[in-house]
């Protein structure tokens, strides 16, 4: 959580306007992950643990090189290892660094009811402010990438911060710093997009990957983390990366029609009952009960 900038353009559970909106040039930062040059060394996993000073956790052998089945509240950066056989019988060992995607339109933020628990900075970083988190877990339901994880003890939700503390000081995120092969890059989104496209083109032209492409899904408003994939038509191969992610329909329904309907119904109901009382009043006054009997139908 960074206090270094109040340049916040979106706030969860917030009534009213947002302080940072329209205050900055529209440069969003972006992490580029070239899965085709990732060697699964896990340096990024260690760097994330070290920079963020996260506590160690227990892991168990699970017939894979992957550190653990999925990210944890205290393990924000996990390389997913997937074996895939191509049509020609050759094997691919796909490694994808999985972490928060820092969506342009974050589903977590949309789903969060707590004022200021999730914010999006003007540079695009989506950050959880655990001090404001109430632990409802709704952000978990709002994320199409299954990223936010709750600490079961404290009921606060955690995820990759894109090292806002580093980025606000002009440094790259810790994972980028640690990557030995240069498969990770960090910079302005437009630049990263261009770099990614050039790599994808190289893979199409010089390697046996005619479907190589860039993963920057429009369904969530583009992401602050983009991938170069050997086969952009099959992102699911990379540990279930959704082909066309979007803010879940449940969150949309809940935050959209249901909210409207509910608000209208509640306010309408209150007004209706109030008017009813004005028109009809009580069925009977206690003291009148025996004497006068029912008094309806005065009109």
């Amino acid at each position: 959580m960074s206090q270094a900038t109040l340049r916040v353009q979106k706030i969860s559970g917030h009534a009213g306007s947002v302080p940072g909106q329209d205050t900055q040039r529209e440069y969003t930062v972006c992490k580029l992950i070239d899965t085709t040059t990732c060697i699964g060394c896990k340096a990024c996993e260690v760097a994330c643990m070290e920079w963020n000073d996260l506590p160690f956790g227990e892991t168990v052998f699970d017939n894979t090189y992957q550190t653990m089945p999925e990210t944890r509240w205290n393990y924000w950066n996990l390389i997913l290892f997937n074996e895939h056989e191509r049509d020609d019988g050759s094997l691919m060992w796909l490694m994808r660094k999985n972490q928060c995607m820092h969506c342009g339109e974050p589903g977590c933020l949309a789903a969060c009811p707590a004022d200021g628990a999730i914010i999006q900075y003007t540079n695009g970083i989506v950050d959880f402010q655990q001090a404001n988190c109430i632990g409802c877990g709704y952000c978990i339901t709002g994320c199409p990438f299954d990223i936010p994880k709750m600490n079961p003890k404290t009921h606060r939700v955690f995820k990759c911060t894109l090292c806002t503390d580093r980025v606000s000081e002009g440094l790259e995120p810790a994972c980028i710093k640690s990557c030995p092969t240069g498969c990770l890059h960090f910079g302005i989104k437009d630049d990263m997009k261009e770099l990614a496209e050039s790599r994808a083109k190289q893979l199409r032209d010089y390697s046996n990957f005619p479907n190589a492409g860039v993963y920057d899904p429009p369904g969530v408003g583009g992401t602050g983390v983009i991938y170069v994939l050997h086969d952009a038509t099959q992102p699911e191969l990379y540990g279930g990366l959704p082909k066309n992610p979007h803010v879940p329909w449940s969150v949309k329904l809940w935050k959209g029609p249901l909210k409207w309907f509910g608000n209208v119904a509640m306010i309408g109901g209150l007004i209706g009952l109030f008017v009813h009382y004005l028109r009809y009043g009580p069925k009977a006054r206690e003291e009148e009960d025996l004497a006068t009997g029912p008094r309806g139908g005065r009109t």
Partner: protein, 220 residues
């Protein structure tokens, strides 16, 4: 408690036993809390409710516990009242005459028993909504303990919880209106437990007849 004991001195009739009243208020108080905190989570514009109710995290922490008490209370109501809540032919006629009821022409209503059809609807409405709220709530509370934990289930739970809550809010508003404003004396019945004979005769004539008749002829 025999029917006879329900006839009290000073022209009063015992409508709710102490156990029933305690159960009602356990549900009532927790519901109010659940409503307040729930509404806070429902809309940013009402988030202040959570602050007012002791703080946002406290609200989130206590909401499910309150929910458990509420669930238990409503469940106990089911145990106590379910047999009295069966739908009868009278109830069908009552629904047909709803427009008289809502315009305070109670004399045109078919005679209601201890609970009229509207109250029965309230009961069953709360009962089923309570079940949904409980199930979805438990899941949202601690998804990690369920083997079938999945995002889809959580997402459904969010919707179900909100929708069921909205439904209860509708019921609750009518219940409150009836109890506090429309039927004078009803509120006292869940505090003191008794209503006047006039109240009983007026709103629940069949019930009163039953008690009074029984009091007169101890055979039944």
């Amino acid at each position: 408690m025999s029917r006879q004991e329900q006839i009290l001195p000073h022209g009063q009739v015992l409508r709710y036993t102490l156990r029933e009243r305690i159960t009602h208020w356990a549900a009532g108080v927790t519901y109010l809390y659940l409503l307040g905190t729930g509404l806070a989570f429902w809309s940013p514009w009402l988030f202040w409710l959570a602050v007012a109710l002791g703080g946002t995290q406290v609200s989130r922490t206590l909401h499910p516990w309150a929910g458990l008490i509420f669930f238990g209370s409503v469940w106990y109501m089911y145990v106590m009242w379910a047999p009295q809540m069966t739908h009868t032919d009278d109830d069908r006629r009552w629904w047909k005459a709803l427009k008289y009821y809502s315009t305070n022409q109670d004399d045109k209503m078919p005679p209601a028993g201890r609970y009229n059809a509207g109250q029965k609807f309230l009961f069953w409405g709360f009962f089923w909504a309570n079940l949904l709220l409980f199930l979805s709530g438990i899941f949202l509370w601690a998804p990690q303990y369920f083997a079938w934990h999945s995002l889809v289930a959580m997402r459904i739970s969010v919707l179900v919880h909100a929708a069921a809550a909205l439904f209860t809010i509708g019921l609750f508003m009518i219940h409150l209106y009836m109890g506090l404003f429309a039927e004078r004396g009803a509120f006292g019945s869940v505090i003191r437990g008794d209503v006047s004979i006039a109240f009983a005769k007026r709103y629940h004539p069949a019930w009163y007849k039953e008690i009074a008749g029984e009091a007169a002829s101890p055979r039944k």
